[in-house]
């Protein structure tokens, strides 16, 4: 008994000791999965870009309102229709002390274009990077590219000399299967530097004392410790017990509980990601349906019937606990081309839906399979279950197939799904990203078989239109066509919530990527 008492006392004293020893501001945080690599061109994936964005910097960043702001470039302007010119910030140093120059920008863009890079698409339009002088570069594009500044926000700039010295001129190649030096080491210009990197276990970043932004820095963080915690309950427990200051992805149902604690708070924002259903209206016969010889989704009345049978307000209330914004189009506020008008939904009306189905020749409905991921979006499987019940009310029998994302997404890409759930985020914050992937007849994620010559033409046009007023009109026209055609069934824009200590001040961003350069610990 006495031994146990002593042991307990010893434990308590170490806790207190730890408490006293830290005069510096250490921000401890967690989320469910670790960054895949520190090579900034190795993987184009949310958590990875987010981690690398603390260490590396792009030419242009986004401010709290997601508006473009100066990063490593101080200013930028189009040069006619042939490209863009960037004036680089002077006096910037990499973490190892090397100077940041135009050479490094040219090197990084070339690196992003390499075969093994995961950012090739984003730099496809760049034909050449011209070094005008040490602090001026021109990106010569393959025809006009009005959204290039948006595309460079996740292209991080590496030091040419460092890359050569450590033999990482080429981005990490998945296929070759080698771990390069850049996977666990980094040399950026950003506000934080890597002190320790144990993948899946612990990543320690420390304040970069020589960061160019320090003079006007908003953060007061000396050290960041990141430990991924896979289990959701444990993640929340770590926040409740004060072991971490910030949880990026607490389960939605726990937000109220976190908020109820005196020393904790939650902040929510609507994310730039819309959840919707796709219907294959291209094939002649559905693969998993009792309708033979024809495809009911080819009939717009059927698509409209489905649309009107979905009670998205009920989904918001019951499934999402209020944390969603019912959607009228499949892109969110904040994306260029989005308007409130477009986002208005056709009203929920099961009676009208039943009539539309009957008019289309399916008075008794039909059966169809709904493919749904069960580990990708907030409450994805539950949303699908709700939709099944709602469609049943207009006579449509839906077989639900909810499976992990690694098996779900290939179905869409291989064009073998009749009816599926998908969510789409827009890193460039421009409608073009949505149209080129989801509506263009050649779009790599267009699993609907929707092909409309006018939409294709508009998509290709506003990719290169530099007259912004004209471009906006084209985007608006394209949206109105696809909205009228009911290509997809929009459900909602996702809302995300972060949980954190009241001691921490950190603005939430719609792209779910924390920016610790704005973090303050009181």
């Amino acid at each position: 008994m006495r031994i146990r008492a002593i042991a307990l006392a010893a434990m308590m004293s170490t806790t207190m000791f730890v408490g006293f020893a830290e005069a510096e501001n250490v921000l401890r945080w967690t989320s469910q999965g670790d960054a895949l690599t520190l090579d900034p061109m190795g993987q184009n994936e949310g958590p990875t870009n987010s981690m690398n964005g603390q260490i590396y910097e792009p030419l242009l960043k986004r401010d709290r309102e997601m508006v473009l702001e100066a990063g490593l470039a101080e200013s930028w302007k189009p040069i006619g229709t042939t490209g863009w010119e960037f004036k680089l910030r002077k006096g910037v140093k990499f973490h190892d002390g090397a100077d940041f120059t135009a050479e490094d920008v040219a090197f990084s863009i070339t690196r992003a274009q390499a075969k093994s890079s995961d950012f090739k698409e984003q730099v496809k339009s760049i034909k050449e990077v011209k070094i005008v002088d040490d602090h001026t570069v021109q990106f010569i594009t393959d025809g006009p590219n009005p959204i290039l500044p948006n595309e460079v926000t996740s292209l991080y700039i590496m030091d040419k000399g460092w890359a050569e010295k450590h033999n990482v001129v080429e981005p990490q190649d998945f296929a070759a299967g080698e771990e390069t030096y850049a996977v666990r080491n980094a040399n950026g210009t950003g506000p934080f530097m890597v002190e320790q990197r144990l993948p899946d276990e612990l990543t320690v970043l420390v304040k970069n004392p020589n960061w160019w932004g320090n003079a006007s820095a908003e953060h007061n963080i000396d050290k960041i410790e990141y430990r991924p915690i896979k289990n959701a309950a444990t993640r929340v427990a770590a926040l409740l017990s004060g072991e971490v200051d910030f949880v990026l992805d607490p389960p939605l149902q726990d937000l109220k509980r976190i908020d109820a604690q005196d020393n904790l708070k939650t902040i929510t924002v609507n994310q730039i990601r819309t959840i919707f259903f796709g219907m294959d209206q291209g094939v002649d016969e559905l693969r998993n349906s009792d309708v033979k010889g024809k495809n009911p989704f080819k009939d717009k009345r059927v698509r409209e019937a489905f649309y009107r049978s979905l009670d998205v307000e009920a989904i918001k209330r019951v499934v999402m606990e209020g944390l969603s914004i019912p959607a009228g189009i499949i892109t969110s506020p904040g994306v260029h081309g989005f308007t409130k008008e477009l986002d208005k939904r056709r009203p929920f009306d099961p009676a009208a839906a039943k009539k539309l189905l009957a008019d289309a020749g399916y008075p008794d409905g039909f059966t169809v399979q709904l493919d749904c991921p069960n580990n990708r979006y907030n409450n994805d499987e539950k949303i699908c279950q709700a939709a099944v019940a709602m469609l049943a009310k207009i006579g449509v029998t839906v077989k639900l197939d909810a499976i992990p994302k690694s098996q779900h997404f290939p179905k869409i890409k291989n064009r073998v799904s009749d009816f599926y759930m998908l969510g789409w985020g827009v890193p460039t914050l421009d409608s073009h990203y949505v149209f080129s992937y989801l509506f263009h007849s050649k779009g790599s994620w267009n699993g609907t078989g929707f092909a409309n010559a006018k939409v294709d033409e508009l998509t290709d046009t506003f990719a290169v239109e530099t007259d912004l007023a004209k471009r906006d009109k084209q985007i608006a026209e394209a949206w109105s066509i696809v909205k009228d055609e009911i290509v997809y069934l929009p459900i909602h824009h996702q809302v995300i919530g972060w949980g954190m200590s009241t001691k921490l001040d950190l603005p939430i961003l719609p792209n779910d990527s924390p920016q610790f350069r704005w973090a303050k610990l009181n």
Partner: protein, 324 residues
Amino acid sequence: MLTYIARRMLQALVVMAAVSFISFSLFNYVGDPVDNMVGQEATLEDRQRIREVLGLEDPFFVQYARFMQNAVRGEFGISYRTKRSVTEMIAERIPATLELVFVSAIIALGLGIPLGVFTGINRTSWISKAVLTVSLVGVSLPTFIIGISLIYIFAVNMGVLPSSGRAGTVELGGWKTSFLTIDGWRSILLPALTLSLFQVTMILRLVRAEMLEIMRTDFIKFARARGLPENRINYSHALKNTLVPVITIIGLNIGGLIAFSLITETVFQWPGTGLMFIQAVDFVDVPIMAAYLCFVALVFVTINLIVDILYFVIDPRLRAEEGH
């Protein structure tokens, strides 16, 4: 004796071959690894190139032959997710799991045997009844519930122990140990306790049953008649005789602990092989999944082999059968 062992080894080999085949079949039936490896913007050519480099385009048997060749050499390729050697990753994670298993085995023995002896001797006391009732909880509650409850009691409410992670490790010749620092002990305590609860119950009940039986035997009665002190009878005579089956079971269970610590490791974010396996499943990281299955099979097969050989050494009847 040699033929017996040889036969056992042969059986073990057959088991390993079967497991390796099942592990390998994963490559073909669990999702598409390429999807997880490339971003959503990857082109079809990118995918094709990666499929070719990974050898996913070869016929089934060519792939299997390659897998076996490498597996025999202890090579399981490169993790799809981290791009590191799988063998290296398992080697890196093993200390965490082994230490966790070691501590939970100590807890299981330290609690299970004395409590078993106590409840065996004091059958009617209310303490025994209470212990037995509580011990039932140990078997019937799922591990993750026990783990989460412990986290809420000791980390969230009392704030005396960390809820997750493996803090305070010290590098000792390539082995990361938790045993040398207070922080290390603090973080191993809850997961080890969680992992041990089922074992405590099992050992307790086993020891108790054996004790009850032995206390009825003649040599205990004689010992009593000779006026030996009660403690000597209980702990020296009786306990010694209960331990043979207990040790056998414990041996087998340690294998189970290593293999199935995965729930405990996930709940506590304990960076051992179990957590690595779960992360691999999420990502369809087939090389890790395959290697882990082979590794677990190897642990079981080896332990079974040792137990079989020990039986042979201990039990003369087996040797007699050999003669026929």
